[in-house]
């Protein structure tokens, strides 16, 4: 650790989503950042694991089970019991699956992103987008009386949808168009809606003569709402849905290739690119706030055998420095299944490979919450070909198994029947509860530094609340600095002693024309052009001045 600097502008403990965003943002504007994690891997609760690591990680947490809020709890893992009669299902059994462990990327906190949502916007505006790849969600499902159905989201879907009459098609298209065009302060309300913001969205839809069929698609699926959803909430949701659709795919959602664990890592990479130092598997101890030489409060802490100081310290949810009592936390009930068939069978899977990513939101009777199912196939590089990874999430009420019971019974089976096309058999199941933060709670105002605490995940489909909280925290920490301004493109960067304007002139295929012409030397005044072309990006230049000069030095 000798070469590690002893003073930092910022030390971040934990590589979860918010910690990584803060680290990247600080590094981007020139702060010196030390970013560590007690784990040997990135992401904390936001990490993706291969199958064996996932199973072990859950077991460790089970063994350590305590009252501590910021732990995974109530873990229950189970494998289908293969017998001599049924030694495998669709050519898979426990041994074969575990052998493929490395093909898995299993998230503790799986999330989707709206193509027009805050995360995608942030990735683009900060230029972090080049570090990551997504797959567009292939299908959005909804269920009525246990029957699965594909939600017609895009214009093409509505056009080809069979169980929606042409009159319904017109009503649906008209309604969603009005939602997109609606402006609250619009003078000409009669052209869209004249409806109070806190009125119920369902009443507006009835007023607009939408059929129950359409209300189901819009309210319970596109909006992920319920009968209590207000006009304003519903409108915001449907607008996000509709402005996202068609931007990158046929549904409004994106899922990161290799799992959501990639997302914090992308921010970490940006932090590193701008000089942030990364060290996994490290703790700090003896943390104290002291007065620095210039009367500022700084944080002094023991790192390895040495003391380091940092002007600010940021702790993640899984850091043991977090004061849980001062930090309201709740949980998300989770289940992870492995199956050999997609849910719904051939009724909703025409190509029978289940597509890539499938989303199903299902309201819970008598509750304002619903169960979110994200089903992944090998196209996401999160599971072997031929298997399906199913993530279920719902806000914690009575316990993961209890909260998800009805949903699981409706769409899955625990035994095996070769005749049942629609309900896949659960070969592996894991139930657990992950800590989460409470949406809408103000986590930032009470924090005055120099030690700051991050939020965990929120019970939301995407990262919007996490990003909102990150911005708030960052602007509290660094009120005068920009939040993740666009990182420069490679061609905008000046490396070494490059002559500023002559470099990176990119003429593509035309370059040779000028060079050849100059070589022929039958033109006057070509000197400048010749130099320009030498620096041209497309061709590594041979007669390089730097090489010459360094060699001259060597000779000397």
């Amino acid at each position: 650790m000798n070469d590690l600097p002893k003073e930092f502008d910022l030390c971040v403990i934990g590589t979860g989503f918010q910690e990584s965003v803060i680290a990247a943002a600080a590094s981007r504007v020139g702060k010196s950042v030390l970013h560590i994690d007690q784990n040997e891997f990135y992401g904390g609760f936001w990490s993706s694991y291969n199958l064996e690591n996932f199973m072990n990680h859950l077991e460790v947490n089970k063994a350590e089970e305590t009252d501590k809020m910021c732990k995974i709890r109530n873990v229950n893992q189970q494998w289908y019991e293969f017998t001599d009669e049924i030694p495998e299902i669709n050519e898979w059994n426990k041994e074969k699956i575990i052998k493929d462990s490395r093909r898995f990327n299993i998230d503790l906190i799986p999330k989707l992103n709206y193509c027009n949502g805050k995360l995608v916007d942030l990735l683009i505006s900060s230029n972090i987008c080049r570090y990551t790849e997504f797959r567009a969600v292939d299908k959005v499902l909804t269920a009525r009386n246990g029957q699965l159905d594909i939600v017609p989201g895009s214009r093409a879907d509505i056009f080809t949808k069979k169980n929606v009459s042409i009159v319904e098609k017109r009503l649906l298209m008209k309604f969603i168009t009005q939602c997109v065009e609606y402006k609250a302060d619009d003078e000409k309300k009669e052209e869209t809606f004249d409806f109070p913001d806190d009125g119920k969205f369902i009443d507006l839809m009835r007023q607009q003569k939408l059929t129950d069929n359409l209300i189901h698609y819009i309210l319970y699926s596109m909006c992920m709402g319920n009968d209590e959803t207000t006009f304003k909430e519903g409108l915001d949701k449907i607008r996000m849905y509709l402005t996202s659709i068609g931007r990158y795919g046929n549904t409004p959602y994106l899922f990161p290739m290799f799992g959501c664990g990639e997302i914090p890592q992308c921010f970490c990479r940006l932090c590193a690119v701008f000089g942030g130092i990364y060290w996994l598997g490290q703790h700090v101890s003896d943390v104290n706030i002291i007065d620095s030489d210039n009367d500022e409060k700084v944080v002094k802490m023991k790192f390895g055998d040495e003391f380091i100081t940092s002007k600010k310290l940021v702790c993640g949810l899984d850091s043991n420095l977090l004061d849980i009592n001062a930090y309201p936390t709740s949980h998300i009930s989770r289940a992870v299944f492995i199956t050999t068939k997609p849910v719904g069978g051939s009724s909703v899977n025409s190509e029978l490979d289940g597509g890539g990513v499938v989303l199903l939101y299902h309201p819970i009777e008598g509750s304002s919450d619903g169960v979110t199912m994200i089903q992944l196939s090998h196209f996401t590089s999160c599971i072997s070909k031929g298997l399906y990874l199913v993530h279920l999430s719902t806000p914690f009420k009575k316990g993961a198994q209890n909260d998800l019971k009805d949903f699981v019974n409706t769409f899955f089976r625990e035994d095996y029947s070769s005749d049942d096309d629609t309900k896949p058999t659960v070969i592996y199941s894991a139930y657990f509860e992950v800590p989460s933060s409470i949406k809408g709670h103000n986590y930032v105002d009470s924090q005055n530094g120099p030690i700051f605490y991050c939020c965990g995940s929120f019970a939301e489909l995407d990262y919007d609340e996490s990003i909102r909280q990150s911005r708030l925290l960052y602007s509290k920490m660094y009120p005068d600095d920009d939040f993740l301004p666009k990182a420069p493109e490679p061609e905008e960067i000046i490396i070494g002693d490059e002559d500023e304007t002559n470099s990176s002139v990119n003429l593509g295929a035309l370059a040779d024309l000028v060079i050849e012409n100059d070589k022929s030397g039958d033109n006057e005044g070509q000197e400048t052009v010749n130099d320009d072309i030498k620096a041209e990006n497309e061709h590594p230049v041979d007669e390089n001045k730097d090489t010459e000069s360094t060699n001259d030095i060597e000779k000397a």
């Binding site: 093409a156 009159v167 905008e492 000046i494 003429l507 024309l513 320009d532």
Partner: protein, 476 residues
């Protein structure tokens, strides 16, 4: 701390851009000069190919360079006509250009030129290429045109092509090219059972009407589906036919359903088997619906008129009307007569429209569709109702006020014309006080001695070509 990040300032970046632009312009000039000097010295070889390639790969819209390239390839392959290497390489080259500009006329055209000239054209490969480009942009009409061309060469079946088209429509129905292609393939795949003038069978027509109304209801603002619907319902351009014929002592008049140029279109008119070429367009234009032949003619009891056009023969028998005129007239086809199944479908669609009108009484597209459907079912039975719809449309859609009035004029004239032709009384047609804006079907009216158009204040008199005919008295 590590080295600092240096980023070009906007001024520096602008300077760089400008330099790049200047150099590009310069490179272009140098290249063009070289190309022209090589060509004038007839140095057709790889150097010329390379130079044109460099510039075309940056700007594939320079047709001069494509021409030079073709000239060059022909010269280079003169010696060995069996060798396809050069052609194959150029196919690859056009593909690069298409990656840069998928809508380059020059590159697509050059591709077809290569295939026509290459000793070993691979048409199947071309079909796949089209598939790829239409996947990238399903509305690239350059590629659709090219596809129709290569598909013929590759002998792809109409069934396969229809499947392809259908898939594209399902993904995005705002696609004129694909609807159009569909309208070309259907008559091959599903010809009408008995009536040659009808493009597709009743059964298929029913399905097509369903698809198109679904598209129209899904997005009424997309006009591509509407055009297709008009086509299916037979509202597109009238087919060529004789409209009417009238002979008086001083002249003969023949009128056609659509404007033609007798000379260019190679149309021959036989009057009682005599071919006479003294026909003149009534307007003096090259192309016209109404043609006149002045002379001194005899009034006979019956005249057989035959017209040949594009290997088809059309005929009409004119009968002696009174002592001074021989007249023949065909009732124009205002649309198709549909069978029971199609009518059933049209009725269902009409019902859906009416259902929708309960929710949205002012929906312009629903009003117009309903009116069109009614006319397709029975234009005369629903005549008054459809006119009411048009009236309503004039108020709810004031931007198209004129269009709806013209349409009303057309429909009114259809009724009047039917009465006129069926009555057999050709002295006079009364078109007074009908609120006409324009006179459709006016070539059918030339047989009348008197056309009364008074009390039509908005009438555009220029639309009344029959007023040019001597002996046809028009009162405005």
């Amino acid at each position: 701390m590590h080295g600092r990040l240096k980023v070009r300032t906007s001024a520096e970046e602008a300077a760089r851009k400008k330099k790049e632009q200047d150099l590009k312009a310069k490179a272009y000039r140098i290249g063009m000069d070289k190309i022209f000097s090589l060509r004038s010295s007839e140095s057709f070889g790889s150097e010329l190919l390379e130079l044109t390639g460099k510039i075309l790969s940056v700007n594939p819209d320079l047709s001069t360079l494509w021409n030079i390239r073709r000239e060059c390839i022909l010269k280079m392959t003169e010696e060995n006509k069996e060798d396809s290497t050069l052609f194959d390489r150029d196919l690859g080259f056009t593909e690069l250009c298409l990656q840069i500009q998928p809508k380059s006329y020059g590159a697509w055209h050059h591709r077809s030129w290569i295939l026509e000239n290459s000793p070993k054209p691979d048409w199947d490969k071309e079909v796949n290429l089209c598939k790829l480009y239409l996947k990238k942009d399903e509305r690239n009409f350059h590629c659709w045109d090219y596809r129709r061309y290569v598909v013929k060469k590759a002998n792809v079946s109409a069934e396969k092509e229809f499947e392809f088209c259908d898939d594209k429509i399902q993904k995005n129905f705002s696609n004129y090219s694909s609807w159009f292609y569909r309208s070309q393939l259907l008559p091959i795949l599903h010809p009408h059972e008995s009536d040659q003038s009808r493009p597709i069978s009743e059964e298929k027509l029913k399905e097509e009407l369903e698809i198109v109304i679904t598209a129209a209801f899904t997005d009424p603002n997309d006009s591509s589906a509407w055009f297709y619907q008009r086509y299916l319902l037979g509202y597109s351009d009238p087919k060529f036919d004789i409209a009417c014929f009238k002979l008086i002592k001083q002249h003969m008049i023949i009128a056609f359903t659509k404007a033609v140029d007798l000379n260019r279109d190679k149309i021959s008119i036989f009057i009682d088997n005599n071919c006479d070429s003294q026909w003149m367009a009534i307007s003096g234009n090259k192309s016209d619906c109404i043609w006149i032949n002045r002379g001194d003619f005899e009034i006979t009891d019956e005249i057989l008129i035959k017209v040949t056009h594009a290997d088809q023969e059309y005929s009409l028998t004119a009968k002696k009307y009174d002592k001074s005129a021989v007249i023949g007239c065909k009732l124009p086809s205002f649309g198709y007569e549909f069978g029971i199944a199609v009518k059933e479908e049209l009725k269902n669609q009409l019902e859906s429209c009416n259902q929708l009108l309960e929710f949205e009484p002012d929906s312009k597209f629903t009003l117009l569709t309903a009116a069109l459907l009614m006319r397709s079912l029975d234009r005369f039975h629903y005549h008054e109702e459809t006119l009411e719809y048009l009236k309503k449309l004039q108020t709810v859609d004031p931007l198209r006020y004129g269009y709806y009035r013209d349409l009303a004029s057309k429909w009114i004239l259809e009724v009047k014309l039917k009465e006129f032709v069926e009555s057999g009384k050709y002295e006079k047609i009364d078109l007074t006080a009908l609120d006409l804006t324009t006179v459709y079907y006016n070539q059918f009216l030339v047989i009348a001695n008197e056309i009364d158009l008074r009390e039509n204040p908005a009438l555009n008199k220029n639309s009344c070509k029959f007023s040019l005919v001597e002996g046809c008295n028009v009162s405005f």
